[in-house]
Amino acid sequence: MPDPSLSQPASKTDLFWTFTVLALQGFGGVLAVAQRVLCEQKRWLTREQFLEILAVGQVLPGPNICNIALMIGDRFFGWRGAFAALAGMMAIPAVIVLVLTATYAEFAAVPAVAGALKGMGAVSAGLISGTALKLLGALRNNPMGVAVCGVLLAAMFACVALLRWPLVWMLLVAGLGACTYAWFRLAAERRDPA
């Protein structure tokens, strides 16, 4: 995929530190920061590629964001790159979170701390939907068409967020349906290149 607007990590060390810096900015989840850093600042991935990797990360077990780090590292530098990216994402944040745990009892009772955590939580929820709004643009080139994408998106949101149906079943049912439809659309596209 030679895309002139994209660049590459310089080395495995670059991968490690990029993911470290990225993880350290991610309060209440790393997804929003990952999209910002990887697509907009470093330009290692297009918005479409980010979404694709996210899709694979989503259907596999394990933390999405760790799967994303692995896949990106692997794509540039093989399994060593995958390990460097994942280690970058986890090592220093793990130390920080354990230090916080060890000292948590002293802070937990301070109302300002509890309030600050609540405020940060509200913002991080916003970061996720703001990032989702940005990724909407990537659906314009989707072979299923914008209208079908919109319906699928709304239906999935209704089932998972509002009705709280189990994620695994929704991924299986809606995912199979959507992928089958996309499969036929891609076939039609090939026969009739518009």
């Binding site: 900015q25 077990p61 760790c66 354990l98 745990t101 701390v113 991080s124 916003g126 999935m156």
Partner: protein, 178 residues
């Protein structure tokens, strides 16, 4: 409590989390109920307060949310416990992710692979909106919703650094406005 943890219990922790790893579709938090059953119920190495504080601490700290698993291990059995739970939850899923990503990337021109990516794209975006919704809905009150919406619009429409937004949230929250 920590001193009471035996190496056989560490192995048991490690084994439980190895299994949970492959069930954690949608992230480690989806198997939190099972973790509760094992750590608080069966093994009795954590109490309820420690269990929920583990999730809260990891949410507040920078880094991937899956680190809550390390916090649980740490509260149950110190650093060795953190290593046992964390490596347990990560090893199987990472190996699988790496293998699957390579398999898919080598066949990225296949129609089935392209169909998978195209079909999943709107669903993945829907899941992001759902995460945001569920996080917002689980907190009572309405003022924090304004904060969430403002943050979403700023991320969407501007290039403002995300840490400013988090910082603003912390200040607004510390003042007791949400």
């Amino acid at each position: 409590m920590m001193a009471a943890i035996l190496s056989s219990e560490l192995m048991a922790l490690f084994g439980h989390f190895l299994l949970l790893s492959l069930l954690a579709i949608g992230g480690a938090i989806t198997v939190a109920p099972d973790m509760h059953r094992i750590l608080v119920g069966e093994m009795g190495v954590l109490d309820d307060a420690q269990f929920s504080s583990s999730i809260a601490i990891a949410q507040a700290a920078p880094g991937p949310n899956v680190l809550f698993v390390a916090v649980m291990g740490y509260q149950a059995a110190g650093l060795a416990g953190a290593a046992a739970t964390m490596f347990g939850i990560m090893l199987p899923s990472t190996t699988l992710a790496l293998a699957a990503a390579r398999w898919g990337h080598a066949r990225r021109e296949w129609r089935a692979i392209r169909a998978f990516k195209a079909g999943m794209a709107p669903l993945v975006i829907a899941l992001m909106f759902s995460t945001s919704w569920i996080l917002t809905a689980q907190t009572p009150g309405w003022k924090h919703v304004l904060l969430t919406v403002a943050a979403a619009l700023l991320v969407w429409r501007t290039r403002i650094h995300l840490l400013w937004l988090i910082g603003a949230g912390a200040v607004v929250g510390a003042m007791g406005w949400v």
